[in-house]
């Protein structure tokens, strides 16, 4: 795997490989010594143009657990805020010996521009680009759903027949997009729920069902209900009238929580607006996978960094046996 930019073009076999390697990584995190020497000598740069402590720390933990060196670059107060271009920033980091660049950027498409521009030779991992994709989030969400559903029997399994409902600002959500493509690739059935203003104008080609009513969606007994964070700035652009109305119509409150079937899980990529899109009861219930998602995020990101950096740069080889001793 040379880059991980999106889940839209991630083949089923590759997605399952990432999830299964993540299982191995998760196992090592149960040991007393959680570190592996695998990426010793490799340098991973966290190139974060948008604030995000949680995702950055998760990637940092993943890289360090594999013994890679981590360099953190955040845009605030850096040369970027003084007008340095993406090209110059990336090339400076490459000149410092970056093997992989984990990039979070406010512009949709920035990771692809970085990966295809010829400015750098390092592998690129998209940690969230604008409103486009957040592939490692979708991968950790899928890992979490699989784990909760199949437990110790998860390896090699996809999500055929699992019903996942995603609720919130689909229009502006890279988490939603990445999840739609990946869940579909893994065989899950996806339903989107949002106010009509927050659904993109043309999703006719998306492999999803779109509903405007959350209660109808819950009555359909989803196996996983994924709540997305709502940004309050959207209120000022007339996407919905008030927080109160949004919360009443699309928030996961105690009543809706109780209407979920016994085995349904409640998910949230974080950070949560408690009381807005998700109530405290829902966030803290046993159904909530929020903390699992965080833990699984490290395992999944370890798997991604391993697959990107451990082998020789170039073609993937699925050969497992025939190695010289």
């Amino acid at each position: 795997m040379r880059h991980l930019l999106e889940t839209k073009n991630l083949a089923r076999a590759d997605a399952l490989e990432i999830l299964d390697v993540a299982e191995d990584m998760a196992d090592t995190q149960q040991r007393e010594v959680k570190k592996l020497p695998t990426l010793r000598g490799k340098t991973v740069v966290n190139l974060f143009f948008e604030d995000s402590t949680r995702t950055r720390i998760s990637f940092e933990a993943a890289a360090k657990r594999l013994s890679a060196d981590v360099l953190n670059f955040s845009a605030k107060g850096s040369s970027v805020s003084k007008g340095e271009s993406l090209q110059d920033t990336a090339q400076t980091l490459q000149a410092m010996g970056a093997d992989a660049v984990v990039i979070r950027h406010g512009a949709s498409g920035a990771p692809r521009t970085l990966a295809t521009s010829g400015w750098i030779t390092a592998g690129v991992v998209n940690a969230g680009d604008g409103t486009h994709e957040h592939p490692t989030q979708a991968l950790l969400d899928a890992f979490t759903i699989r784990k909760r559903t199949y437990g110790a029997d998860s390896r090699g399994r996809d999500l055929t027949g699992v019903k996942v409902t995603i609720v919130g600002d689909i229009l502006h959500s890279r988490v939603a997009r990445s999840n739609v493509w990946l869940l579909n690739t893994l065989g899950a059935q996806v339903t989107l729920v949002a106010p009509p203003t927050l659904v993109p104008q043309d999703v006719s080609a998306w492999p999803v069902r779109v509903l405007f009513d959350l209660d109808d969606a819950i009555a359909d007994e989803p196996d996983a209900l994924m709540m997305l964070r709502i940004q309050l700035e959207r209120m000022n652009a007339a996407y919905f009238p008030t927080e109160r109305e949004y919360s009443r119509r699309w928030g996961l409150d105690a009543r809706r929580l109780a209407a979920l079937t016994a085995d349904s899980m409640v998910m949230h990529p974080g950070p949560m607006n408690r009381g807005l899109e998700i109530s405290a009861e829902a966030a803290d219930s046993t159904r909530s996978t929020v903390l699992d998602q965080v833990t699984n995020g490290v395992s999944v990101r370890m798997a991604v960094l391993y697959l990107l950096l451990a082998g020789e740069r170039g073609e993937r080889n699925h050969d497992e046996r025939g190695d010289a001793r």
Binding site: K35, T38, E312
Partner: protein
Amino acid sequence: MSARTVLHAADIARALTRISHEILESNKGPDGLVLLGIPTRGVTLANRIATLIGEFSGVAVPVGALDVTMYRDDLHRHPTRSPQRTSIPAGGIDGRVVVLVDDVLFSGRSIRSALDALQDIGRPAAVRLATLIDRGHRELPIRPDFVGKNLPSASDERVNVRLAEVDGEEFVTIEGADS
């Protein structure tokens, strides 16, 4: 293809029987033993040895798998490898006598990786090494404790181990580089 058969199925069975007895003898019984096979075929062999030890001693010895992919020192020279599953038996390895089981011992680097992996998992009382084939050409100071067959070989020859559970057939062959 000039492959020469060095062990037939019956030879393999006899070798494993002998190794199982040797393990019990050197350990003075089955207590405290943990067998860890190195995937892929090392796991198959470890399972067979555990079964044999169980027959001979009446005790079910814990058996598992130890994948060493993450600890290899030559990862960047090959296309990316998928790791195999590591499963440490309940009860762990602390204070136990761990017997690593592999099918072919060659340079010794896999075993070095295995020792590093064990170190991160726990603190065994001792680590022993059982291998079906020792073909020489060690690059590190690693020596096996239990050997099925010593097989002198040229370093460019290929040693092929086939086991019924994995390959559907059972033999060990060696073939020259020009075949």
